[in-house]
Symmetry: C2
Subunit: 340 residues, 2 copies
């Protein structure tokens, strides 16, 4: 595995510019102590030569890394890919590169990913996805991240976690509340709520608010738990509607589940929204494209990612920051007043 150096080195840039590598280094990093003329010249030459800093050498020599680790619950779920897109774009604007891992919602995998990132001296670690309602479950990760930040690293989460780091929090309660109120205003008083794993904070928040709003309006509420991935939401909804023949609406606590419900109802020949109204939460891109298009509460997903990245570029605050991101109700074709 020998061969010609595959990358342009700082020494080559320096030589081409007729200066020492120290001066070249200063010029490239805009450090001052270098005449503007020289600095400008060096930058031009570096550009022409296609010079890129060797991050290993830089890091080893005491410089900082440009790696940002991003840990996703699920790599092929639009909710997460939208967030990832936001992170990647913001990172590139900040000259950072993103390393992606996925945890499949498995705490062990998540820990392993964090350790690997710490060992890589990643400049920042971003964890996207729901937290767990049981703080105990996140204890190890929390300790790991605390040590990491004490050592100069930066961490941020997207969602409500108990990880003691900066957080971008989609307003899940608000989102669920808006959708529930929409159903109430349409006149629905008998609603099936398709929920997910109660161990996830996202589920807890959305379900809590949904049930609260619906109950406050005097509606009958049937909650059905599924695995929150949408795989069995359609079947679950059909089962619930069998048991609750008077129900006029299905409120799924995520778009992924709502889409599964829509598919299930279509196959069963149930008219949406004529017979049953259906709603989701998140507003993934598909929500607008399916038919009937989905009434849901929209989160600016890629902005969630962007905000998280930005948080990690600011110095650590004395107490973890919380940036709440509001949802916005989007009424589309899947909801209508209940048939009378």
């Amino acid at each position: 595995m020998a061969g010609p150096p595959a990358a342009v080195r700082l020494s080559e840039v320096a030589a081409a510019a007729g200066v020492s590598i120290a001066t070249a280094s200063r010029s490239l990093r805009g450090l001052g102590g270098v005449s503007d003329t020289v600095a400008e010249k060096v930058r031009g030459i570096a550009e022409d030569l296609g010079y890129v800093t060797n991050s290993y050498a830089r890091t080893l020599a005491g410089g900082s890394t440009t790696i940002v680790g991003l840990i996703l619950n699920q790599i092929d779920d639009p909710y997460f890919t939208e967030i990832a897109a936001g992170v990647v774009r913001a990172a590139e604007d900040a000259d950072l590169t993103v390393q992606i891992g996925h945890s499949t919602r498995d705490p062990h995998r998540e820990l392993k990913q964090i350790r690997s990132l710490v060992a890589q001296r990643a400049r920042a670690i971003i964890i996207a996805g729901s937290g767990y309602t049981d703080p105990q479950r996140e204890l190890q990760a929390k300790e790991l991240l605390a040590r990491y930040e004490a050592g100069g690293g930066r961490a941020a989460v997207i969602g409500r976690h108990f990880l003691g780091v900066d957080a971008v929090q989609p307003d899940n309660r608000g989102a669920a509340g808006q959708v529930a109120r929409h159903l109430v205003e349409l006149g629905h008083r008998d609603v099936v709520v398709i929920s997910g794993l109660p161990s996830l904070t996202t589920v807890e928040d959305r379900q809590g608010e949904a049930v609260k709003v619906l109950a406050a309006a005097g509606a009958r509420v049937t909650v059905v738990e599924t695995d929150f991935t949408g795989h069995d939401a359609g079947r679950a909804a059909l089962g619930a509607l069998d048991g609750e023949p008077r129900a006029t609406a299905v409120m799924a606590l995520s778009d992924a589940m709502a889409i599964s419900v829509l598919t299930g109802l279509r196959r069963a020949g149930v008219d949406v929204p004529g017979t049953i109204s259906v709603t989701g939460v998140d507003d993934v891109p598909v929500a607008e494209l399916i038919s009937p298009s989905l009434t849901t509460a929209a989160f600016p997903l890629s902005e969630l990612g962007r905000e998280a990245l930005l948080l990690t570029t600011r110095p650590q605050a004395t107490r973890p920051r919380r940036k709440m991101i509001p949802a916005q109700l989007v009424v589309r074709e899947s909801t209508a007043p209940p048939r009378s």
Copy 2:
């Protein structure tokens, strides 16, 4: 900002074990040439001390990286996220980590990404997305990759590129041919083809085969060029149908464009497939969910990514490998015989 955590160094492990750092290094990497007793002892001490290899030092010293770079044309397009999912999963199976960048189809950005990856000593570089029909346009990237591979790196592309490296090639001609034949068999003889930038090999291949098959069947073909992202495909299709009132089908050369066409037709009140049949290519997950569901040619997208990753784990062959991946026609609701 505190300094880096007091990381345990190899020299400390060596000292504690009473051996040289060379022996310690060999022991830890299981390299042989070390007595089992010593090796075992060193490993135990390293474990006790919580030693973790400094990957920067290791890489700088000539050791190998575990980073695989993945350059995507577009980070938030389902076509690419599916591919990315395949790469990430296969990488994790091989204990590799994936670094994602996106080029926005801009050759300059792409070059920058490649350079960055080369500088990072990525073990492999995977480029996903269409190549350019003008080989000149890829010349710089080709040189860069050649030097990279000469230096021991591995590269692979997904799509037909002129980059001189291993390639996973979705059979774009075959895919377009199958869809075109499907339309012909249904009886369509007046078809609008929504195409993309002619500078992309994917577009060239799909359009060439589509037009060939349709023309061979004696059909009238109207080709409309768009930007291949789907942003203006809907508008373009409506315009073309205005000019070609006898057209009975719109064949979009990608699902992204087909979905845009479907949306445009729905807004214009055109019945699909009653009045106009619509087809796509790719079979992104949404294709099955929209309504009417989309007739298209399916590529196993995440497998494309997986195959590319696997190619990079094998040693370089004397000539670049080409792995052709066939498409499969999926007939859904968006196509029907033309109304007579």
